[in-house]
C-alpha cells in the first residue's frame, strides 16, 4: 500500500470530496485548496451577529453563522456551523460541518468535516472524519481525524506484526548509520 503511494506527490493532498466516499476507502483529507477566500454566512443560514450573546442550548438542522458569543451547547446534526472571525463559542459543538475562524472553547465534533482557518483558536478536542487546518490556526487539545476503524478481535490479538513482515526486521538492538 505504501509503496504504491510513493509515486504520488505527497506534498499535494488530494482534493477533498464533498460526499460519496466509499465506506471502505480512506477518507481524503480535507484541504484549504478549494475553499473560498473566507467563509461568509451562507444564504439562508441563521446568523448570530457580532454583539449578540446567547447562553443555552442551540439545536436544529439548519446552517448557523456565529459572529457573536455563544455559551452552552450547540447541536446542529445536519447543519453547518461557521464561527466567524469575531465569534466566540464556549460550548461543545456538534454538527455535520464545522468551520472555525474565531474562538472555540469546547469539544468540536464535525461529522463530515472540520475546517480551522488561520485565525481560528480552538481549545478542546476535535473529532471528525476530515480535518483541514490552515497555517496560523491555534489548536490546543486532542485531535481525532479519519474514519473510525473497526477491526476484528482476531486481528487485534495477532501477535505478529502487520502483514507478517516483521521477519525481515532485525531482532534485537541494531544500529544502521546512513
Amino acid at each position: 500500500m505504501w509503496k504504491k503511494e510513493e509515486s504520488k506527490n505527497q506534498s499535494v493532498p488530494e482534493v477533498a470530496q464533498a460526499s460519496g466516499t466509499p465506506a471502505n476507502s480512506p477518507a481524503p483529507a480535507a484541504s484549504f485548496r478549494d475553499l473560498p477566500a473566507a467563509p461568509a454566512p451562507s444564504r439562508g443560514a441563521a446568523t448570530i451577529s457580532q454583539g449578540i450573546r446567547i447562553k443555552g442550548e442551540i439545536t436544529g438542522s439548519e446552517d448557523l453563522f456565529i459572529d457573536g458569543l455563544v455559551e452552552g451547547r450547540l447541536n446542529l446534526a445536519n447543519g453547518s456551523v461557521t464561527v466567524g472571525p469575531n465569534g466566540t463559542v464556549k460550548a461543545d459543538v456538534s454538527a455535520r460541518e464545522v468551520i472555525i475562524r474565531g474562538k472555540v472553547d469546547g469539544k468540536v465534533a464535525g461529522r463530515d468535516r472540520v475546517q480551522l482557518w488561520g485565525t481560528a483558536q480552538v481549545h478542546g478536542e476535535v473529532q471528525t472524519d476530515r480535518l483541514a487546518i490552515e497555517d496560523g490556526a491555534i489548536l490546543r487539545g486532542k485531535v481525532e481525524a479519519g474514519k473510525p476503524v473497526e477491526r476484528s478481535a482476531a486481528e487485534r490479538s495477532a501477535t505478529v506484526g502487520p502483514n507478517g513482515k516483521t521477519g525481515n526486521v532485525s531482532v534485537g538492538p541494531g544500529t544502521v548509520t546512513i
Binding site: 505527497q10 493532498p13 484549504f32 487546518i133 496560523g136 481525524a145 501477535t159 546512513i178
Partner: protein, 250 residues
C-alpha cells in the same frame, strides 16, 4: 526553588513562555516563532526554520504498516495538516495529542496551585514519579491496545526521566501487539526545539519552534533498550546530525 525552575522552565528560562502566536505577515513570511500547533500546507511558503530530513526510520515505520489497511495512529506531536493528510489518505484514523504541551501546561498549573496553597504539600506527592502519575491520570486516556502505530518523535528527551519511563509504559499498553512506535533521541542535548511532520513517505520536516521544556536527558543505547524492554524489536538509524531514529515493534 520552584518546580518550573528546577526543570529549567521558570522565569528567565529561554523562550519558555509561549508568546501570543505570530500571525502571518503581509508578505506571507513568518518568523521562526511558529505556533507549534499551527498547521497547514498551502497558501504560504514553508515557515522559516523548516528543514527536510530524509528519514529511514519513517520508511521503516511505514514499511511495517504496509498492508495493514485501515489502522489507528497516535501522533504525540503537534497536529500538522501534512501529517494528518498523509495518514488519513492511507486509511488511518489519526489521533493527535500534543503531549509535551500538555505536560508543560500541567506543570505550570500545578506550580500555580502549589503557590496558592490550594493543596497542602503533605497531601501532594511532589516527587517526579508522583507528578508523572498525576499527569497520566488525565492524559493518554485510551483503551488498551487501541493503536497500531505511535509517533513519539523526540519527546522523551524533554520529559523528566520518571515521566519518560511512565510514558513509555503507558504507550506500551496502548499499542497493540505487533504495533510499531517511532521515537527519536538526540546524541547531545539539543539547544533548540523542533517539531516534526511527515512530508512524504521518506521525508520528515523539522520545524523550529519555541522551547516548551528544555531537554532533560540524553539517552544512551543501553538506557533506551531498558526503557523499551517490553518491545521485541528495536532498530535504530543514526543520521549525520546525530539524531537517532529508533523503531520499536511490540
Amino acid at each position: 526553588m520552584s518546580l518550573l525552575n528546577k526543570l529549567g522552565m521558570g522565569h528567565g528560562a529561554r523562550d519558555v513562555a509561549r508568546p501570543a502566536p505570530e500571525r502571518l505577515s503581509n508578505t506571507g513570511s513568518r518568523s521562526t516563532q511558529v505556533p507549534p500547533t499551527a498547521v497547514g500546507s498551502t497558501r504560504v511558503p514553508e515557515p522559516q526554520g523548516t528543514t527536510n530530513r530524509v528519514s529511514n526510520g519513517l520508511k521503516e515505520f511505514l514499511w511495517n504498516l504496509d498492508g495493514l489497511g485501515r489502522g489507528t495512529l497516535l501522533d504525540l506531536g503537534a497536529a500538522w495538516q501534512t501529517t494528518l493528510s498523509f495518514f488519513i489518505e492511507r486509511g488511518f484514523r489519526v489521533t493527535s495529542e500534543d503531549l509535551l504541551r500538555a505536560w508543560k501546561d500541567f506543570l505550570v498549573k500545578e506550580e500555580g496551585e502549589i503557590r496558592q496553597a490550594t493543596r497542602t504539600p503533605d497531601s501532594l506527592d511532589v516527587t517526579p514519579a508522583g507528578r508523572a502519575d498525576r499527569f497520566l491520570r488525565s492524559n493518554l486516556e485510551y483503551p488498551v491496545a487501541s493503536f497500531d502505530a505511535v509517533l513519539l518523535w523526540d519527546l522523551l528527551d524533554y520529559l523528566e526521566p520518571a515521566m519518560a519511563t511512565k510514558t513509555v509504559l503507558a504507550l506500551t499498553e496502548l499499542l497493540r501487539p505487533g504495533g510499531v512506535l517511532l521515537a527519536m533521541f538526540h546524541s547531545k542535548k539539543p539547544e533548540g526545539f523542533q517539531r516534526y511532520r511527515v512530508a512524504d513517505s521518506s521525508t520528515l520536516q523539522m520545524i523550529s519552534a519555541p522551547v516548551l521544556c528544555p531537554a532533560q536527558r540524553v539517552y544512551q543505547n543501553r538506557e533506551i533498550q531498558d526503557l523499551f524492554g517490553r518491545y521485541r524489536t528495536m532498530k535504530s538509524f543514526v543520521a549525520r546530525d546525530q539524531l537517532r531514529e529508533t523503531l520499536f515493534i511490540k
